[in-house]
Symmetry: C2
Subunit: 271 residues, 2 copies
């Protein structure tokens, strides 16, 4: 593989901010990689929208990133992964990584009782994408329990991750899952790692949480390594941020999600 | 004015569901009118988006409604009213009613102390549109206090209007406003009338709440009457619902917001 190819960036898109938890894990694990991040802030959120519309948005986001000559595409959004990953894999010649499959694989590694819970947006839960993926790759019978938690996204964006209100909302959403005797819970939305401590507090320490962001970074690393596309040994790298809508909120929340000050963002008109 | 003209529909658009509280008031007050409602469910919400983007969306929504030959346009969304009402008034030949001015006028009628509070989405509060309108139409000095309450929209959509969680969130958001000694509070988001009881419980009964939906219906009635465009005396009328994205959530939430079973909706591709 030529140096030119390894120097090509990893492209990541999300409906907005949530994908930054995935970006953060990829930045930590693959510290030599150039990255182009696109947040579709003009059309955020995807979690309440239909398959048809989410696919259309995923397609225009991918086209933008392909124009940046990326070597691999990460769909850092559970809803877009749920609705559009197969379409993107079929249509693109570069590798495509979604967040659903890595999370599902990790959950199957961790479960002892074969009882797995999934929380996510309305669209992700309705798509049954985790359930389908779990059943597809699993050789033993499993019980799956899922619950949409729409308020978790705005709570994470408000910065109320350690607030008592968030604990109460989490108790309300997770009550049924607690009764179901699951031993693994998939955080099926890229915002949810922000609320991990609260979710863990409600679920109790015996329940293992699967953070799709971490698993997606590991999967990205595996694919790049297998294909000889890893960029290693370089001391500098470029991280570029593009948004489809100017958003002060993005910048302030992004610093918190990324755990570091936010670099400059550029607004692109693709909508 | 010909019967043909009075028979033309009132066009109403909102970013999605919130505008149904305005539709409900218009349906109640103007019970002979034909109405076309457009919910921009493919791009909802507007409250976190920029002026440029909200204007673009408002323009395409208006163009769709104009193609339905409407006689008056209601912008039943505070964010779109805040960012796009002047542009729409300049560009259209039919009357345009937003939700900001009627709410502001009512607040000035009600206040005794000249201390007015405003709650709304981040975009509405950031636009200062209520503040500007209040100062523009008010002949005496007033103090204005505002607060964005981003969680109120998802709480209303979750149907948690009578839940203790909503009360706690409201207490948190409204604490500063309570200290400011306002005597009137403008519900500057079309979702907020759903949470009226909780907001009233937190603020106390001495604070008058201004429901922009009610005031917008009254303003619409005044304009139609002045221009001889009222449709009266008819026993039947058509209410049509268009969405930019197929949304089961819309249908289920809409029945609750409207307080009656939801009619058929049609998806249009304008995005």
């Amino acid at each position: 593989m030529t140096e030119k190819t390894t120097n090509q960036a990893i492209g990541i898109f999300d409906s907005g901010i949530g994908g930054l938890t995935v970006l953060k894990e990829i930045m930590n694990l693959l510290c030599g990689e150039n990255i182009v991040y696109l947040g579709d802030t003009a059309r955020v959120p995807y979690g309440t929208k239909s398959r048809r519309t989410v696919r259309k948005y995923a397609e225009s986001n991918s086209n933008f990133l392909l124009s940046k000559n990326i070597k691999l595409l990460v769909v850092a959004c559970n809803t877009a992964s749920a609705y559009a990953i197969e379409m993107l894999k079929e249509n693109l010649t570069i590798p495509v990584v979604g967040v659903v499959e890595p999370g599902a694989r990790r959950a199957l590694e961790l479960t002892v009782k074969g009882k797995i819970g999934i929380i996510g947006t309305q669209a992700t839960i309705k798509s049954s994408s985790y359930e389908k993926k779990l059943r597809q790759i699993c050789s033993f019978p499993i019980d799956i329990y899922s619950k949409p938690c729409p308020l978790f996204v705005p709570l994470a964006e408000e910065g109320w991750e350690n607030d008592e209100t968030t604990f109460l909302v989490a108790e309300k959403y997770l009550a049924e899952l607690k009764k179901s005797e699951i031993d693994v819970l998939i955080l099926g939305c890229t915002h949810y790692p922000i609320l991990k401590n609260t979710i863990a507090r409600v679920m109790g320490e015996e329940i293992r949480l699967v953070d799709s962001a971490e698993e997606t970074a590991k999967q990205t690393e595996r694919i790049l390594r297998t294909r000889g596309l890893l960029r290693e040994g370089s001391k500098t790298r470029d991280i570029s941020f593009y948004l489809t809508d100017d958003s002060e909120t993005f910048t302030s929340i992004a610093s918190r999600f990324l755990g570091r000050p936010m670099e400059k963002t550029e607004v692109v008109d693709i909508v």
